[in-house]
Amino acid sequence: MNDPFQLWSYLAQEPLLWLTVTLAAYVIADRIAAALDEHPIANPVLIAILIIAAVLGLSGTPYATYFEGAQFVHFMLGPATVALAVPLHANLGRVKRTLAPMAVALLVGSLTAILSALGIAYALGVRGETLLSLAPKSATAPVALGVSEAVGGEPSLTAVLVILTGITGAIVATPMLNALRIEDWRARGFAVGLAAHGIGTAHAFRVNSTAGAFSGIGMGLNAILTAILAPLVVTLLF
């Protein structure tokens, strides 16, 4: 394979290249976030996506080709979701004492997320498949994709909206809740998890371990509630 073009066409077909690019971009993004003292806007997911999008754009690689390689990373979302049971169990005592606050916060927060996303987008003229794709955006990715399909959205667009929601939550949560002087890590974590799923939870674990555990609970419970509420809301409204 002396011809560089042949080398490229070999690499472009194998999962190895895009798997490597995904991990390398994330390592670089993590370094950048650390160098900026974990400033909220320097979100590692956001930086890694920008790096990879630039590489795909410059090399003219379609997303489907990229995903052939990156799917191995994507696959781990499932086992990671199951693994949330472990920190949840470790915080069992706290969880038992806060069942009522969690139940009320879950219902209020989940409805607020679905209704305000649909309401704001509708008011700004978004209609059809794009609008419906927004309904489950606060739920974790595997849930949101299934719900999007069920309500007539576009699952691949929902995946992007879910990620952007998570990044938004991870960026705004800490400055906003600090400004409001909210010191209860249980409330902070739970709200971030229900609004910004796994990316919010990843951020919460970086900030405080109690917040991380409650964020994982918020994410898990809202995954279940969104799967029930989003189809109901869409049926009632549209």
């Binding site: 971009a25 997911v45 990156a70 049971a85 009522a100 978004v126 069920a150 938004t168 189809p231």
Partner: protein
């Protein structure tokens, strides 16, 4: 570690089979989460043995969202057309959902006497 990953996969697989078999709208991994949690209640020693694997996986949770996020490159036309409206909806609803969640949590905690951690 391999044994712990096998345990996670077994619970995910069981969850997927239940979700698809009974046509539930709750996804398989979430059912797996619930089933593993119940199992840990019954077998507390398992939680201790799985702790490092679970924490290791969750410490890099952010990475796992990157491939789906890169999908934005496949939807540039939609974002060119409705990007501002979608951005407003995402930011607005995420802020409102966090505030509503925190507010409802703190208010209920105060009413039920569960306020104050520890």
């Amino acid at each position: 570690m391999i044994r712990n990953i096998a345990i996670l996969l077994v619970f995910q697989l069981g969850g997927e089979m239940l979700a698809r078999g009974a046509a539930l709208s709750v996804p398989g991994p979430v059912i797996g989460l619930g089933a593993l949690f119940v199992t840990l209640l019954v077998v507390p020693g398992l939680a201790e043995r799985m702790r490092d694997t679970a924490n290791g996986l969750l410490a890099h949770l952010s990475l796992l969202f990157v491939p789906a996020g890169v999908g934005v490159t496949a939807h540039l036309a939609t974002f060119a057309e409705a990007g501002l409206a979608l951005a407003a909806a995402l930011v607005g609803s995420t802020v409102l959902a966090i505030l509503a969640g925190v507010g409802a949590f703190l208010l209920t905690a105060r009413l039920t006497g569960a306020d104050g951690d520890e």
